[in-house]
Symmetry: C2
Subunit: 340 residues, 2 copies
């Protein structure tokens, strides 16, 4: 263990790697002036060095380079990846937590492969039955943590309780000044609504929450996710993935239509001169790059998945998320919540 926060990055994952990734690192170093972190870069050495030079951060004393012999592709299945990729940049970036003092691993590569090899390398926390994929979701007051977003198609009530405990720990580590308020995603707010699994999880969370590690607000309907009254939204991976993708699709549909209508006449095009700054702020507020990064929870170490198609700014935000998670002592908080 070093005293510094060590972020281990698969520099070759996602579109436009390693350029996008190294630009994100450069941005992070520029914005975060402290020297309490180290960035490890795993991948093709020459490629990485060339990009570091372009961004004027070659031989920066907070950057370490580790050569990897291959790259996991989007076409790889977990099976082919495990067979072929024990020295891939993704594998090494995750394994750095057990071999190179890394505190957290980040990749924008193949999600399916990442979930499987993370689990192989880091192993599950003893008492946790199923891991979960969590992400940030904007609300009126800031952000929610929502989980599971697709690691598990089916979950029982005990899994959901563990998700609440891990999600509350994640929320508290990213937002140390706020109180985690959990809720179960359901089709109604009355106690009689929903599946049998949800009803059992409701009962258990009601008891767990009396230990004061987090508040439990009962059920939440998806149209209220953005209200901010609850900020840790718990669901099974199928439902969470459906909800997340519906929100993405709806947001895109609306903003595409807005753009289309605003550009449909010379008069409204002209109006953009005056609304430019307000629309820019509106766009920034909802910019998905600001909450780029899904966190894989339940393993003996945190792993963050950046969106594969994001750009350098999106990648910057996922590095910043890694930094906050380690600084907020996520692993310690998870274990404390699970032990309660």
């Amino acid at each position: 263990m070093t005293n510094k926060i060590v972020i281990s990055i698969d520099a070759m994952g996602g579109e436009n790697a390693p350029a996008k990734c190294i630009e994100g690192v450069a941005l992070f170093i520029k914005k975060n002036k402290s020297n309490d972190f180290i960035i490890q870069l795993h991948g093709e050495e020459e490629n990485i060095i060339s990009e570091l030079k372009k961004n004027n951060i070659y031989k920066h004393d907070q950057i370490e380079i580790f050569k990897a012999s291959s790259v996991v592709s989007d076409e790889d299945t977990p099976l082919t990846a495990i067979k072929n990729s024990k020295d891939s940049s993704m594998w090494n970036a995750i394994e750095a937590q057990t071999k190179k003092n890394a505190d957290i691993s980040l990749s924008a590569g193949n999600t399916g492969v990442m979930l499987v090899i993370s689990r192989m390398i880091l192993k599950m926390i003893d008492s946790v039955k199923k891991p979960a994929l969590a992400a940030l979701w904007p609300n009126e007051k800031g952000f929610n943590v929502v989980l599971d977003l697709g690691a598990n198609v089916e979950c029982d009530e005990n899994n959901l309780v563990e998700f609440a405990e891990m999600g509350a720990a994640l929320f508290k580590s990213i937002f140390p000044n706020e109180e985690p308020k959990t809720a179960l995603l359901n089709i109604g707010s009355e106690e009689m609504k929903g599946t049998e699994t949800l009803k059992k999880a409701f009962q258990k969370l009601d008891i767990v929450s009396q230990k004061n590690i987090f508040k439990f607000n009962g059920y939440i309907e998806p149209n209220k996710i953005t209200y901010g009254e609850s900020n840790v939204i718990v669901t099974d991976g199928f439902t969470g993935n459906i909800s997340l993708k519906t929100a993405e699709g709806t947001a895109k549909f609306i903003t595409d239509n807005l753009k289309k209508y605003l550009l449909s006449s010379w008069l409204s095009k002209f109006s953009l001169i005056f609304s430019y700054f307000s629309l820019k702020k509106f766009k920034e507020r909802l910019d998905p790059r600001r909450f780029n990064g899904a966190i894989f929870l339940g393993l003996n170490g945190p792993v963050v998945k950046s969106h594969g198609a994001t750009d350098s700014l999106g990648f910057y935000y996922s590095i910043d998320l890694c930094y906050k998670i380690v600084r907020g002592d996520l692993m310690k908080k998870i274990k404390a919540n699970l032990n309660e």
Copy 2:
């Protein structure tokens, strides 16, 4: 049977009843110049007459009034409603299909009660195992039919196949010039993704679709619902309700934020002078009143539920939906599809 389309309306359901409802009727009569329909109004006679007078359609020859002795309230449960409400406006509006030659029933009242008493009065179609709640959902090319939106928390593969058959019939009756293209809502588009129920439904729909009653496009992810490549989106009631409410919540969150930012400075407020007509068109395009009305399918007669909080324009659209459904011969199409 009369040759006219008979639409039976619970005039007392939802907020601001019967005013909102009668205004909607007046709008429908104004816009639909044909005399091929009859509107039945069920509820408090004096109240209805007074509203008809206000709207200058009292004693209109296409309107019939039927007195009901009570009104189902939002606080009623199916149990209390059945006990107390055999002569309620909702009950009578639905029963008109068996007793007063009505072709379709419409209410903006208590959804839970409506689902239960519709089923009691109209009975299920013999071969259908579970009824479904369907609604229109805008896409790039027009509208999707999405079902089930909450009538059933859990569904098996046979239910999903029936939903596809009924949904395709509904789509064809509302949009006679378009081809129904069904898809199963899932968290991925690959055949291996999703629950066991979805995988079995996929296999069955693949076979059913070879009979050419509708196209089957396989799985669809929720972020592609608005693309319009599939237009009959099939899912269980839990998932459908989660997806619908997520879309509602996201749409509201985005448009609220847009409004906030556009009104945040005098400069962008000024811009509204020039973008007014474009933003108005944008708003109209996404106006939920335009697709107000959920259709209850699987019974021996169609029942439409209007949003309780909608206004007269929203109510007008739900009457228009009823008109199109009967003109498009929904019940005949459903039975044809189920018999294939």
